[in-house]
């Protein structure tokens, strides 16, 4: 039996080599005009060139990820304060990442110690898919519930508990530990708690922090703290826009419960605009609802829906608001019924 297909071009290993060379050159800064032209013509010569380039660039970044992982291992231990061996340290240039290099030499010293480093460090990324709600118990006994399409990285050390909310929305139930503050970082906002229950939502351009129990401190800009952190108490919500706390409103426990009904797989609306309700349920589903006329979008919606049942939602809305609902290519269109 012959091969399934034959490509025209031969010598494919050269493609990888060229891709690697370009990836390295691109990583060191913008190309000169000549080099750019050369690069463009190489890139456009064959569709596989793009693929090969993406693949090498991804590997290049993946090495950075692993190196960062090794580097942060050194945060935990004593060898972090030792500079790297002379052989690895360039004589004439300061080693910007000598701490990291120390971490690496500690690793190469023996896999036993490496196992220990890695055990000490609990750095994990948790993700929920569309329509999924995940409840995660963290190493300190705190819990984290991820709403649909959410990613969070958990970085715990002996001195701090950090969670990067990369995207989406999560509710945190933090166990008390005065010595290790629990900090949620999202975009350029940090939310610091000692022992509390609170939710962080980074879905819209504004970031919302809602506190159910205890107190948290919301500080825009995680790097240099020029502004005083804003205290947010139980039954309050802070809204952060453009790295500034723009509002702290009080919210009733009933409202909070309603807004966090997603934890039980439900979405509860109490007079929200249809456009807002649709945006919310769309986040939970692959199939999407689209409102075809603006007037319909500004009608209020009341009701409790299964987050995963977008068809049921559309049907109920159609009946309640005298709209037509029509499925086309995985999109449910809602429009006001035409008057016959």
């Amino acid at each position: 039996m012959s091969r399934v297909w034959v490509f025209m071009t031969t010598n494919r290993k050269r493609i990888d080599e060229h891709a690697a060379e370009w990836a390295v050159r691109l990583s060191s800064g913008p190309l000169s005009a000549d080099a750019q032209a050369e690069f463009d013509s190489w890139l456009n010569a064959d569709i596989r060139h793009r693929g090969a380039l993406l693949r090498v660039q991804a590997a290049w970044l993946d090495v950075d990820r692993l190196v960062a992982l090794a580097g942060s291992l050194s945060e935990a231990g004593p060898s972090a304060v030792e500079p790297p061996s002379a052989r690895e340290s360039p004589a004439s240039y300061p080693t910007r990442r000598w701490v990291l290099a120390a971490g690496l030499s500690a690793l190469t010293a023996g896999s036993l110690s490496m196992g220990w480093w890695l055990w000490r460090r609990r750095d994990e990324v948790y993700e929920s898919g569309i329509g999924e709600v995940r409840r995660i118990t963290l190493p300190d006994g705190s819990s984290m519930v991820l709403n649909t399409a959410t990613r969070a990285r958990v970085r715990f050390t002996d001195s701090r508990r950090h969670v990067d909310l990369i995207q989406g929305e999560a509710v945190f139930d933090v166990s008390k530990d005065q010595l290790r503050p629990f900090v949620v970082l999202t975009r350029n906002v940090s939310v610091r708690a000692v022992g509390t229950v609170f939710a962080v939502r980074a879905v819209e351009s504004d970031i919302a922090v809602t506190v159910t129990e205890g107190v948290v401190e919301v500080a825009p800009s995680t790097e240099v703290n020029l502004t005083r952190p804003q205290k947010v108490l139980a039954d309050e919500r802070a809204v952060v826009r453009n790295a500034q706390v723009v509002a702290v409103q009080s919210v009733s426990p009933a409202q909070i419960q309603r807004q966090q009904a997603w934890q039980d797989g439900l979405l509860s609306f109490d007079g929200e605009l249809l456009s807002e309700a649709v945006a919310e349920i769309n986040r939970h589903n692959v199939r999407q609802v689209q409102i075809d006329d603006v007037a319909l979008g500004s009608r209020p919606v009341v009701g409790v829906f299964r987050a995963s049942d977008i068809d049921g939602f559309a049907q109920a809305v159609a009946v309640a608001l005298s709209a037509d609902s029509m499925l086309e290519n995985e999109i449910i269109h809602l429009r006001t019924q035409s008057v016959q």
Binding site: V4, R48, H49, L54, R55, R65, A149
Partner: protein
Amino acid sequence: MSGDGKLARNRWIASHILPYEREVRNWLRRHVHTLTNDDMDDLIQEAYARLWLVDFTQVSHGRNYFYTTVRNLLLLHARRARIVPMERLGEIESLRIASEEPSPERQVAARQDLERLLAIVEDLPPQCQRAFKLQKFHDLSQKEISREMNISEKTVEKHLSVAILRVLDAFTREERAPARNESGVGVYDDQSQEN
């Protein structure tokens, strides 16, 4: 696409596609016996090429996307080649995307990746290894490496590109480059680069 956009895309590929390449290759090897290694490399490169313009924020599951793309490409080429008996087309069409294999715990996986990376780096030719370490572990620029090692920037680039290809191969292929001259990388001579 802006620089940031490209970086975000490449990061996405690094975390959502690259980790599954080895698995996809194994799946292909198991199910499409007629595929040569070169065919497979072409196929994989083409699958990555499809990601060039894709709005990755709309792709919810990178692994499934990768499998589906590879399967569609397989079909496309099989149809084009016209040498494939019809039942084979049917076979490809009905190829099931492998259900996610129970992966080792993330920590264990990260540890294995790190171990493997360090082992590969230790295996690199000396000059190449030094350039790679200076760049990736010490964060020196290529210009700085060139001064540090007293070699041209061009040679630094060569060393780095050889290193990254070795790393990539080790992470995505089943065997670790058994025939050195087959990979094209093995024939690279570390010491004879300066002329």
